[in-house]
């Protein structure tokens, strides 16, 4: 019989509590930091930096007595609801066609549908303008063919482009839900006498209700805070929604009306908070429909019969017209002096637009700034949210629920408002002016904005790991942090890696946080694009957009092909 010798271990001082408190405090500061100056400003009669300021309720009176405000709120609601209904409808239809039918070309189409997910909505808006705007390629072509005319610079145009931007989210949620649902539920309906179409209508679609509810509210929230598409397509013709209204108040106006900005911001945050809470409630209520996946093989896909080619062509045409063509237009515009359907673009290829970006120091710097913020910020972000998720789900720490709520709460802050909050906070705190205009501030703001993305991308993986693994480490004498570091982190590596790329792409695309925050030296790709656009330099805008797309494509390729990262199922 072998004997086991007992090692005598000196008692190590544990830093566990300190680290856990650190997580709560840092998260709380990140979330409260941009919120408090806005709350304060809403009840002050002068800008926060003015020492002579005094308490007032006039800001609220002013905003609520302005008929423009109500018109904007009404338009925002119409815009939001219409976009959401379309986006959920189209996304669901595409998901069903791709996942559950024998439509030819499903694999190819599946990959194309999600393209807008990786494209900044700003770029999408520019791309659509190039193809379908008043001087757009297709528009002019249609006009010469005497086809009915359209106007992209309208509420309808804004809705269509926003629908294309948000549709991949619905598609991803609903197709994930479709492939998780128990195929025996559909088989049971078939045996019970339902043909494939009735099965789809009476069983498959009703079972998607949790996913539909979830994506409906997710997209409603997204449209409420969506700035770029209404900015590019609405502002030139005077169509305002809440986000662009706020943008005009803060940036375009002659004198900045701090009080009104604060009040409108609070209204937007309250609205979005309400939607986020509603989302949580409804989804929890509908969870009872969630079924445990069956072990059986997938049922035969729904046979579309003679319709399958027609459906495939319709879906393909939709994707070609609404996703591929605008991006092609963008590339054409970037690589030619001007775009016209009457001149073969290949005869006038030029790199001038790219040269403008590359040879102008400030433009070039926006590229390097974005890359730097993405590379470093995403690493800090995913590392921090991983520790937060472990604190929230793998400790008995008393503030663990607070960590979860604080990490998810920034969902209610539109990017523009995060930017305003950070700007004002820095204006108020004396002595930190030196770092105010650096990219580090930008990075902190980006991380705050995307805490929910990082947190929710990592927490399913944390929850999946059996807690016996870290308990075993604790029993063997490890501290909580030791178990986290040596056991959980290595297991979570694949999830952290895909979270890193998700954050990187989000940071690269982000522009709304930066609009208020950026200054000379801290400009990012998005702010430079908006500047160039406001000056009417459409060629360089397109060139910069193409460069952003190229970086995204390369990063995606590296992450998926080389590192085998799955960004979503």
């Amino acid at each position: 019989m072998a004997t086991l010798s007992r090692a005598v271990q000196p008692l190590k001082r544990s830093w566990d509590r300190a680290i856990q408190w650190g997580v709560v405090i840092v998260t709380a500061i990140l979330v409260i930091f941009p919120a408090w100056p806005i709350l304060l400003q809403s009840i002050m009669d002068r800008p926060l930096y003015d020492k002579a300021r005094a308490l007032t309720l006039n800001n609220f009176v002013k905003v609520f007595s302005n008929p423009d405000f109500y018109a904007v709120v009404g338009r925002t609601i119409v815009f939001g609801l219409t976009t959401t209904v379309l986006s959920v409808g189209v996304g669901m239809l595409l998901a069903i066609f791709v996942v559950r039918t024998n439509m030819p070309g499903r694999r190819l189409l599946r990959n194309l549908i999600t393209i807008p997910y990786y494209v900044s909505p700003l770029v999408l808006a520019f791309a659509w303008g190039t193809m379908y705007g008043p001087q757009g390629y297709v528009t002019i072509l249609a006009r010469t063919l005497h086809l009915p005319d359209w106007n992209l610079y309208s509420l309808g145009g804004i809705i269509i482009v926003s629908m294309m931007y948000t549709m991949p989210y619905t598609y991803l949620y609903i197709s994930a839900s479709l492939s998780l649902s128990d195929p025996q539920l559909e088989s049971a309906a078939r045996i019970g006498g339902a043909n494939p179409f009735i099965t789809l209508l009476r069983i498959t679609v009703p079972l998607l209700r949790p996913a539909i509810t979830y994506s409906f509210l997710l997209i409603l929230v997204t449209t409420m805070e969506l700035l770029s598409i209404p900015l590019v397509l609405g502002i030139p013709v005077g169509i305002e929604v809440l986000s662009t209204y706020l943008y005009k108040l803060g940036i375009v106006g002659v004198t900045t009306d701090y009080g009104s900005i604060a009040v409108v911001s609070i209204m937007v945050v309250l609205l979005v908070t309400g939607l986020v809470i509603l989302q949580g409630r409804l989804v929890a209520q509908e969870r009872r429909f969630v079924t445990v996946g069956g072990k059986a093989t997938r049922p035969k896909p729904l046979d579309l019969g003679g319709w399958k080619w027609l459906v495939s062509i319709a879906v393909g045409l939709f994707i070609f017209m609404f996703i591929i063509l605008p991006l092609v237009a963008l590339i054409l515009q970037a690589s030619t002096p001007f775009v016209s359907p009457f001149i073969n673009p290949l005869t006038m290829l030029s790199t001038d637009n790219f040269r403008v970006i590359w040879n102008t120091a400030t433009y070039r710097q926006s590229l390097s700034n974005s890359l730097l913020i993405g590379l470093i910020g995403a690493a800090i972000g995913i590392f921090f949210t991983t520790i937060s998720a472990i604190t929230a789900y793998r400790t008995k720490f008393k503030a663990r629920t607070a960590v979860r709520y604080l990490s998810l709460y920034p969902r209610a802050f539109p990017g523009l408002i995060v930017g305003i909050g950070f700007l004002w906070a820095f204006l108020m705190i004396p002595g930190i002016g030196a770092i105010r205009n650096t990219i580090w501030v930008m990075m902190i703001a980006f991380i705050m904005r995307y805490l929910p993305l990082g947190f929710s991308s990592i927490s399913p993986s944390v929850l999946q790991i059996s807690d016996e693994l870290d308990r075993a480490a604790r029993i063997s004498g490890s501290t909580w942090f030791g178990a986290t570091w040596r056991i959980l982190f290595p297991i979570l590596r694949p999830a952290m890696l895909s979270g890193y790329f998700l954050l990187f792409i989000a940071f690269l695309k982000e522009y709304s946080v930066a609009l208020f925050l950026f200054a000379r030296g801290s400009q990012v790709i998005g702010t430079t694009m908006i500047e160039l656009w406001r000056q009417g330099n459409t060629g360089p805008v397109a060139a910069l957009a193409v460069m952003q797309l190229a970086i995204t494509a390369v990063v995606l390729l590296i992450s998926q092909r080389v590192l085998g990262v799955k960004l979503h199922d």
Partner: protein, 357 residues
Amino acid sequence: MTNDLVIQGLVKTFGRVHAIDDLSLTVKQGQLATLLGPSGCGKTTTLNCIAGLENPDEGLIRVGDFALTDTAKGRILPPEQRQLGMVFQSYALWPHMKVFDNVAFSLKLQKVRRDEIKKRVFEALDLVGLADMAERYPFQLSGGQQQRVALARAVVTRPRLLLLDEPLSNLDAKIRENSRVWLRNLQQQVGITTVYVTHDQSEAFAMSDMIAVMDQGRLLQYAPPEELYASPATQFVAEFIGATSFLKGAIHAINGSRLKVRVGSGDILALSDRSGRQWVENQNVVVGIRSERVEIARGQSENLLHAGVVVSTYLGAKWQHEVDTGSGRLKVETVDSVTSDRLSLYLPPDSILLFPE
């Protein structure tokens, strides 16, 4: 004309794998036949072919004159036109519908009158003893109740066939035993022809009129339970349906169906062979021994087997010994502990099975 289920020449391949390899069997009207075998043996694929959830490459499946599948005539009915009832392993109750609506689903599709639907749904729910649960959602029911709702849903249309895909496998052991008695009674009461799939041999014995043992897509034996137990057709069947150990041996003497075999230890065992096989003297054979029938010898003079005890395990109600006979190991059970490390075992003639090597 009876409404037997007839399956002829069923073939199904997945790539190079023969999931079903030329399977033929008949289930008499009103009987319950079980497809029994280890996972991957093709039993569920067979059931899915009957249901129309899977299309076979070749074969005929009919109930009486009504062909469900007839590949020779290019006829494969989709599931919804087969008029069957099926209970799935996960029960597959639709979570967004109340119990009543789950059961009423098929009747509504058949455009049955409203009051008639109500009457028939409650008849079916009464049958499974759940009439008071009609307004509940599936997630408010226990596993056993869900299984019974699934059964009510399957029989409410008075189907041609009832198909059961391991319906008891998700239940706790205790409920499972009660359920199989209940399920068998209900099947006989309704008198519906039933195909039952399971990998649990005790379930198969307890419920079936006929058992089909399958392995690697092939039907090894199709027989009533008692016959299957008494004379399993192959070594695999013997091994699968009961606790059987195998020893190497050779034919010692033949006297009609009375045989004597010599096993490696030199012991001679007498048995009567009911397999109808032809044996020759000195032929090498595999001797199957049913552990549960083996006793410690108490003065018997023949069919003795001498073996050394390898390890004894106390199981509470009894002792289990693993013994080495010199030509293979054997598991034996006794009520009391044994003191000696060598045992004399008595093997009753009907505890011994014979297979060609």
